[in-house]
Homo-oligomer: 268 residues x 4
């Protein structure tokens, strides 16, 4: 896969007769170190992203120029602002001379979280996805994958003592109203509070007692988790669209419980 | 997660006040042994599926009954006809008393393929996904993930000898016209011929010579692969909709090349 | 990768001057449908294995003949006895004319398990690994990966109500004394009873009450699980060596708790 | 999982009567941001590690104190020197009051590599593992997983034109003589040159011509790759032990070719 800026036959640039436009063509699964600037929080965060970059290819063009995707990445990676991600997508569109560009970055992100009672510092790892589509306009979707605890209301109700609980992973994808901002930490807080209780990286015994009792006081089915999350996202006017789900790694089964809701608030 | 057929409080059956309908709720990542009957081919095939089963839950109902999904599976797994998969989805809909049911089964499938020159027998493993949606009507999408070889036209053109080639995985999802059938083996044959050459499980030297030269005679960009596959699927009137892609594990990079096309033929 | 039985240059067969013997060379990640015969249980089980097959290569030989591994597999796959797996490994050794052969097969296996109270039938998926080494003698190691439930004794002790619990996966690898047999189902039963309680695929409410209370009555740290499993394996004289571990997917953290014990009983 | 520094029952600290020592117990799959200082190279590198931390537990102690592992991590992560990793392992040993500690960190690492002809800058992602064992002494093993290109000598020899080639991933684990240093970049260079040719993140057409022809001029079986790598590691006196392998993602098969060598140079 090469570029046209050379005195060699440009196979990609030649004409294609099949009359088949391609929706997306580009590079997939590129790993790259990135730096996020979050003006609102502790500023600079370093992480490693897995990146997909695509453009639309018109029916008459034989191929795209794969190396240019990486060149765009080279110019941006060391100062990527989470609130300016669409700029990178537009640069791909321009550099590849395309009408339509798509950028997807998935990376681990670390939330500074203190233990609930002792205040012990810790870092909780979540997964973040930034996804952009640029043509005449820009579309941006932010996704967070957040671990938490779910405790089964039925198990609590029917049992003389105890209740099965487990780790769950909640996923929330959102679109934001024009001119609005929603920081990773803000969405994270909304999401993790939809579960029975939160998870932490460091828990001393008073903290463990707290999370254990909190979960037992706050039983939720996987259905309750997505519904409570939906209610919270409905209440935030910055959010115009969301797709949410929770996957609960049932401690009493080898399979998982799952629930999903998609809502476009602009359609009432 | 429990069932109502007991003299115990039915927490799931209680009323929910949040007024939030749930698009999909159920069990995810269930592994199960299945038997496929393919009247057209060698009849009975045994494999192991990873299964997701969901229903829609109306806003007023607190929870679904998770154990019923597994009960439906128990009644069907040992005689699953690849041309009657929608029956299972409808049974889920009925057993869960839902308006909408979703079934997804992903499983490895083995194609009997002889080596191109010596005729040595072998089994090629592909990945198959059956996905059904049932409400008033049934929607069925079949997906195949097929490995093959891609050889780069640019590399061949500009190099004095050789050309970089690599394994690629092509994915084709299709919808079929009412009353029509498309067998796994039929779609497989269409898909694998879109690449530079096919892969085999057993290759003797005359076979290896054949595939090596065939790939070199038939160079294709990732763009060519999806376009040639699109042309082939356009030519089959049984197919009304398709989503296809190819991911090429570039032998000269640590990242992959990717192309994707989606087309609804019913919309011309 | 080719075979010598052709009128073509046999590159693999040529002499190598680097004087470097190779411990293992062969094919990796071969997917293949297999049939297990378990005389002791319900007889015939169909599943899909991921298989690695290697031989040792002496310093003077340039290459091995990759296609022969698949040919051996073709002759065995449709009647693989779990108590005769070493035969396949020896066949690889002979067919490849090697002093040393290695065979590894990993596959999902399904245990028929009834719910503890209602007796509802269900299939629990576990992971099984058969690993053989053949040179002058044969070495065979069987590994089971079994899901279960663990409930934290500390959380129970310090909390006014509830206790965090989670799915755990216990892994047990064992060697058997000459002339002895240990069936998958036998080892499975030993392993799953080392946890706080077992998991099931179908649970009605009386069953869910049973597993919830059983787990609460039987709290175990990850340390307790491996120790109780070690005690059980020590008590079975058929087992001469074991390597066991448990990984608990903590419901209060995003990381896991882990413990491991290795013991060679022949060394006292 | 809790700590003893509280006025609560210390379940972990209580006595265990089973008389079963535990080889390894601790936390697994902890994701954490780390900073590597490489005095020899461009200094500071930010990445994200997946970390396992274990200690040995004597037969008489019921449990370890899981939260302490994370506390050790908190004190080190922002200034982790690749040449002082054993310090962290010893701190775990001391903080957990254990005789034996084990630390494993796996992380993506990026090598700055210019394209071979045009000199285009690019970053190649490799996988690095640091593994330490500390008891009376410290043992350190460094592992690199490096992608490259392999081209089949047999395919080239028997074919009129072309030769099948593919991405391969070579893995090298090494132990270093006391008082010696081996930087990631140094081992990386040794490893990648064992293949038919190297891979790059950005390749313009003159570069693509170069790598294509270089691979064709330099055909290697998976056996050749590990042997050439063994010869190179034998020649470096800093290296006292190595375990190497190469997995080639055959472009003509759906399975992989694999070869492995283990050598302890101290045993001649």
């Amino acid at each position: 896969m090469t570029d046209t800026a050379q005195a060699m036959p440009d196979v990609q640039g030649s004409r294609d007769a099949r009359n088949v436009p391609i929706d997306r063509v580009g590079v997939k699964n590129v790993r790259y170190p990135i730096t996020l600037y979050c003006p609102r929080t502790s500023g600079q965060r370093h992480t490693v992203a897995t990146i997909d970059m695509y453009v639309a290819l018109p029916h008459h063009q034989k191929g795209t120029h794969m190396s240019r995707f990486l060149e765009v990445l080279n110019t941006h990676h060391d100062a990527l602002r989470s609130d300016q991600i669409t700029t990178v997508c537009r640069d791909i569109k321009d550099k590849l001379e395309a009408d339509h560009a798509h950028l997807r970055m998935e990376f681990p992100y670390f939330i500074d979280k203190e233990a609930p009672v002792t205040g012990q510092p810790g870092k909780l790892d979540i997964e973040v996805v930034f996804e952009c589509e640029s043509n005449a306009t820009d579309d941006f979707v932010m996704t967070l994958r957040v671990p938490a605890t779910s405790l089964c209301p039925c198990s609590k109700e029917i049992s003389d003592y105890g209740a099965h609980n487990q780790r769950c992973v909640m996923e929330a994808s959102v679109r934001i109203a024009p001119g609005q901002n929603l920081w990773i930490e803000e969405l994270f807080t909304i999401v993790e509070h939809a579960a029975s209780t939160q998870v932490f990286s460091v828990l001393k015994r008073p903290d463990e007692k707290w999370v254990t009792e909190r979960a037992y006081e706050n039983p939720k089915f996987v259905e309750d988790i997505v519904r409570d999350l939906a209610v919270a996202l409905d209440a935030d006017d910055r959010i115009t669209w969301y797709r949410i789900n929770s996957e609960n790694f049932e401690s009493i089964h080898s399979h998982n419980a799952y629930a999903e809701i998609i809502k476009d608030k602009r359609q009432g």
